[in-house]
Symmetry: D2
Subunit: 455 residues, 4 copies
Amino acid sequence: MLNKEDIILSGVVGIYSKDTNQVFQMMYYGLYGLQHRGQVSTGIAVNNNGFVDYFKDLGLVHEVYSKEVMERLRGNIAIGQVRFAFRNEEKAMQNVEPLVVGYRKGALAIVHDGKIVNFLKLRDQLEDNGIIFQSDLDSEVIANLIARYHKDDVEEALIKALEDIVGSYALIMMTNDKLIAARDPYGIKPLSLGKIKEDYILASETCAFDTIGAEFVRDIKPGEIVVIDNKGIRTIYEKSKDRKLCLFESIYFARPDSKVDGRSIYLTRIEAGRILAREAPVDGDIVIGAPDSGIVASIGYAEESKIPYAEGIIKNRYVGRTFIQPTQELREQGVKIKLNVLKENIEGKRIILVDDSVVRGTTIKRTVKMLKDAGAKEVHVRISSPPVKYPCHLGMDTPSSNHLIASNLTSGEIAEEIGVDSLSYISLKGLLEAAGEDNGFCQGCFTGKYPILKY
Amino acid sequence: MLNKEDIILSGVVGIYSKDTNQVFQMMYYGLYGLQHRGQVSTGIAVNNNGFVDYFKDLGLVHEVYSKEVMERLRGNIAIGQVRFAFRNEEKAMQNVEPLVVGYRKGALAIVHDGKIVNFLKLRDQLEDNGIIFQSDLDSEVIANLIARYHKDDVEEALIKALEDIVGSYALIMMTNDKLIAARDPYGIKPLSLGKIKEDYILASETCAFDTIGAEFVRDIKPGEIVVIDNKGIRTIYEKSKDRKLCLFESIYFARPDSKVDGRSIYLTRIEAGRILAREAPVDGDIVIGAPDSGIVASIGYAEESKIPYAEGIIKNRYVGRTFIQPTQELREQGVKIKLNVLKENIEGKRIILVDDSVVRGTTIKRTVKMLKDAGAKEVHVRISSPPVKYPCHLGMDTPSSNHLIASNLTSGEIAEEIGVDSLSYISLKGLLEAAGEDNGFCQGCFTGKYPILKY
Amino acid sequence: MLNKEDIILSGVVGIYSKDTNQVFQMMYYGLYGLQHRGQVSTGIAVNNNGFVDYFKDLGLVHEVYSKEVMERLRGNIAIGQVRFAFRNEEKAMQNVEPLVVGYRKGALAIVHDGKIVNFLKLRDQLEDNGIIFQSDLDSEVIANLIARYHKDDVEEALIKALEDIVGSYALIMMTNDKLIAARDPYGIKPLSLGKIKEDYILASETCAFDTIGAEFVRDIKPGEIVVIDNKGIRTIYEKSKDRKLCLFESIYFARPDSKVDGRSIYLTRIEAGRILAREAPVDGDIVIGAPDSGIVASIGYAEESKIPYAEGIIKNRYVGRTFIQPTQELREQGVKIKLNVLKENIEGKRIILVDDSVVRGTTIKRTVKMLKDAGAKEVHVRISSPPVKYPCHLGMDTPSSNHLIASNLTSGEIAEEIGVDSLSYISLKGLLEAAGEDNGFCQGCFTGKYPILKY
Amino acid sequence: MLNKEDIILSGVVGIYSKDTNQVFQMMYYGLYGLQHRGQVSTGIAVNNNGFVDYFKDLGLVHEVYSKEVMERLRGNIAIGQVRFAFRNEEKAMQNVEPLVVGYRKGALAIVHDGKIVNFLKLRDQLEDNGIIFQSDLDSEVIANLIARYHKDDVEEALIKALEDIVGSYALIMMTNDKLIAARDPYGIKPLSLGKIKEDYILASETCAFDTIGAEFVRDIKPGEIVVIDNKGIRTIYEKSKDRKLCLFESIYFARPDSKVDGRSIYLTRIEAGRILAREAPVDGDIVIGAPDSGIVASIGYAEESKIPYAEGIIKNRYVGRTFIQPTQELREQGVKIKLNVLKENIEGKRIILVDDSVVRGTTIKRTVKMLKDAGAKEVHVRISSPPVKYPCHLGMDTPSSNHLIASNLTSGEIAEEIGVDSLSYISLKGLLEAAGEDNGFCQGCFTGKYPILKY
């Protein structure tokens, strides 16, 4: 499982409606359905006949928006985002999207999921030309590039700007009268198109369509730029490379009820569990999943291995930001804030614990200790992704190699370090089979071979 | 699954510590572990050498308490509660516990899980004697009764007061220097005793002990009154009837990682699923559980029936109180706020849906419709509790018979009403077998025979 | 000037309307006009056909009430209060009025300005009879007394209850269908009756009538109990002693635009300044008032003495509760949070500083130091009330004698202590002349002779 | 008196300290002392060894800042602002200063009091060069200009930027290691320098120095740019025109206890009242001031005319933003939220009402009506500034001529329109005499002759 600090992730939504009746509510529930892609901040910008107003703040979707905001943000085009904080927590407020700016051609609002790898170089060039920056957002660089190409119309300016940009992105933009979506040439980040009556909706994942009752139309293609305005929808640019979707979308990021580029995330994870059971069988009494990220794969593992699936660890569903920290003494006594072991299922048993990934190794170590403390006779860890050996510069923000446990230790050494009786990973080949293709994914964190090099 | 409005439930915690070092934090995490027993309000009272201070408010545990409150509430005895609102939402604030009063003998603070059935009669008698009431809380009646018997010491006064009281209760009280716990003679409500170093902790469920790292000592016996003070712990009263623990604790209320009166809730539910599979087998492609209350039984059902267990419905984990309501149009389009169907698992399949109970029938009907809309070929509903035919006056606040679907319709009629291909319930005998005893439970909502009559 | 901690004061309002149209708003603005009588907490209870709902919280009127509260609190009878906190700051929340209770005869809500001197004795008697208390409010004792006399109708019960009570009070009560007002037999606390169309309004001060556009009808008489219901208004009890209105209402508490018992507060203060100028003339360059309480008397002093009136001290109008405290260093540097000296008017001049009263002497000492630091050549202090030598047990909560500077030092000694060139007080005779009567006021804090003895 | 919507005003503060000990607290109290210059929003940026962090929000100084913010914002250089909202209320949040940006040379933070008249032209030019804008702030244009001249060091870049800028400004800026202040060449906006031990403080008004206990050093000269860093303070630019300080600072904006460019605001206003009494004498019973802006001049008028000064209108000191609006009916009944007439002083009397200015005429009309309703026999209005006939484009944001009552009507017509017995203004000559100079002030709103033309 990834730590919070290892993730650069966000969920983006765009809506183009025929009327202004319920655009805010559609956006609200769309973001609600993507909340798993970012819990630190959220923002919505709405276009009302060329006047763009917005609201953004730190917090969850259901915490941030009030009736007053709903009544204020009326219009027929909207973009919105949920995101994790990153880079600089203290500056969190200025790093909340949408970025809304005015420029030569009017208003421009941007939300972005992904990571521009030549961000610093582009920012440097822009600063050399006297540009100021008010945030650390990639989208501020993108907005500046678009504005610099302002002599052309916005579509051409965007095309030029994106030709300067190297990195992963699912971008949704709003001008005075258009909704624009763009996906990076490798399609590293997912982006899908839905429809609800006459209205179009763009979203990072298809589960957002289900949330608001829209129908899935198609995925935005890698390298495609799509414009939606009062004339309908059209592709204005298409120059894809081979698709290299981030494998971690399949493994961890996406919600199991989403389809990404046509493939069900749930089925991928079940299948990964099954393949893992074949590749790394082990004798045990029960199969349990690490909540919540390992649950689906553990069901697949249990099915394939014919070893009973059980719940071994219970998650407190009411966890939230708290000001009250446990005392040192409570910590030593083993205060269990988020997770508790189901002792009846664990005590004296041989446990097969399935998790989605091991990055630093600290989380799995803590989980294993809980199981051992509860009397597990044996603990066998099975991971439904290969060892993460290489840091990611394209959107996962995984730590440098020396913090990646699999980069420094063999599986045997890791098993010893985390105190388990055995540890196995699915093979990369196995995972790709589960994900439905043997090529078409960025596998950089497993192989060190990235579609886009680091700057 | 029960509707929110059908439940009178709360979680109570009491702590007696040798020092004042971390009583607030222990209480905080104890309540945190019982949050599933009530999400509307919470309060903590702390005793500092006979001076009792408290804080209570509407909201979840992690929302209500601040550092300032933590620093203020220092002492060595504490009681606390989480609860659902009931009876009168508008007066919610005055119905938040602990109730803290001053009387002849000093301070008295009370938290109560349960329902006093002769509440109105007792209140009437007290009002006849000129007593005023500032809330609708049972505990205000109890406090008044104790105060009226004030000539005796508090222990005797409490014994007398409880002899006046008919109903279900797990009570935790705090006087100037004592922590007192009482469980009703039938033990309808659960209450357990734990220990952590030299400190005692009382809680509705044992999962609260795990949360703070305490060890389970024993259950408070039906009809037992226990006093904890600087001389240690002692039982001052014991006059139990046959135990009649609320069966719904096993079915729905308690957290699966709790043990209630010595029996693991998880194992009860797994076993109920297994027995249900034997009693009501049906051919199907997958077994799914209604999240979250039907999950454990569905795992048991799948195991026993050898039909694969799968996730069929995904729950949004970030749902909270929101001010933004979907428009009528969005509602018609099928906005899915809390739950979404995993279409890949449902489409074209014969689904066995396991849920813990059917009360009004509205929730299961909605869930079934989602499955059918997603293309389920067949839907077979299996319920891990018998038909709820009788209203409960002892703590569940289930609606009157004419709202209980099983009170009015046969299983066949219900199956038709909710649109399923078949519907079966576990037998009462089967459930009692799963729960580990064939007598010892209040079965009133299933049989109409209550240990305590309605007033 | 009094310190915040020396005051037990509150402002009370009651409204009986023919319809439910705007009772909340009238109450809101009525309390708004009495905000100077208490800034710690406020509450409103509204009667809607016998159902009494309420809202109360810490804060100013404009901070506490929201639109949601306004929409909830609909009805045709209402009572409300603004108050200072007292006795026990930590328990502030439970000491916020209105007190709303249920008893034999239905609902009863009470607001109270004043102080019951036999509170502890009555509470003791009630506790002896098994009564519990949930606050430190006088009104909880009053409510209990009324409930104990419940066999009679509420009017008779109230009469009996008030016969038990010794102290100062302006009480406004609400039953299921009546608004009731009572003023203590000495009329120590003010209470007036106004009318607006067909609606009646009761308020501590007439400025509340001006605020909502009502007309003054008459003062409630000392010892009078008035009932307002759908049959109109009637006096049900009248048993006054000689009126002994608190002189500090004239000196400090009441707003200058109020009339109390028929006498304009502004004119009393102007006249006190004039008499003070005659009684204690002194040569000076300008007359200034201590903001805001000494301003009016200083205008009178200037007029009579023919010495120019000027502003010498400027008050920051935007002061509020703050979490940021000045560092010790800033304090030493002389950070001026509330007041600043107008150096141009002070430097090198002989200043006559008029203030309304001296209680502990700490405030005037600080003010004088500011003037001296700003270069005042001479500072002559003139006080528009006599020396406060005796503590008050009837509503001012002034400290015990040993904290009353005039109780321990002569005027000459005080002048030396606070560092002024001269100090004079108005004579009691002079003040009474200004207040318009030579008897009819409680003068206890000046003479030690109280209409009601201390318990 | 000006309406809120007629004002573009803010208060700015800068601090350069030897240590980081209490810079935040000094800034906090400095802004506190300037709260009268803007109540809509406030922000503070602090420099900690080149790392600039900031916090800004809507609200008053004492509402916006928390202990957490105080602990976060540590450093040795700080700038801060209080401001009125303007131009676009809905976008209020992005128009809160300080503006903090990164550019080629590091961090740059700006606060600005004043109005750039060629804002649109400069913004247009910048947009033509591909610059984006995230606010409507003048300071965003200034920051962009500085960044464009980035090849030079910041001091030279600032000098060049300010040569492009036409308008009124008191600017305080912060770079990685410097505090910089600039005042426009005409000195339209005030800016003063103070010192406290080894620390420098810059502020819009000297009352901010008094608030934190600093000493006044000197005024920043019109057209002067001052740099403060670890080498001390130095003037890097000086190119003043004839000073043309905004006369409304003397009339209305500044706090009476401030000295602006060496002249006491209080004395100016007293003297204006005196001259007004000589220029426009009238027989009357009392002189009253419109609270609070007319009070000082009314004292001067009373002094000179020998007609008694009195309080005629009482202001509610506890007014704040409220969600509760009076009903239409209450409005018709004459609900008095902010002001109440002191009937005793008004009824049957000939009133001389002094106010500082008449802009639209709506406020004075309402005030006069209150006096007439209270029974004033005659009302004579005396205004301590000349008729405002011309709109201001330099910082007052007064409405266009057709909303300026004096631009359309003669004094006689205005007297009739507002329903008074006579109306007189001070002469411009008289006001200038009171303000201490006969030239040196911008008199544009009275004469139509502006030091800077409108763009």
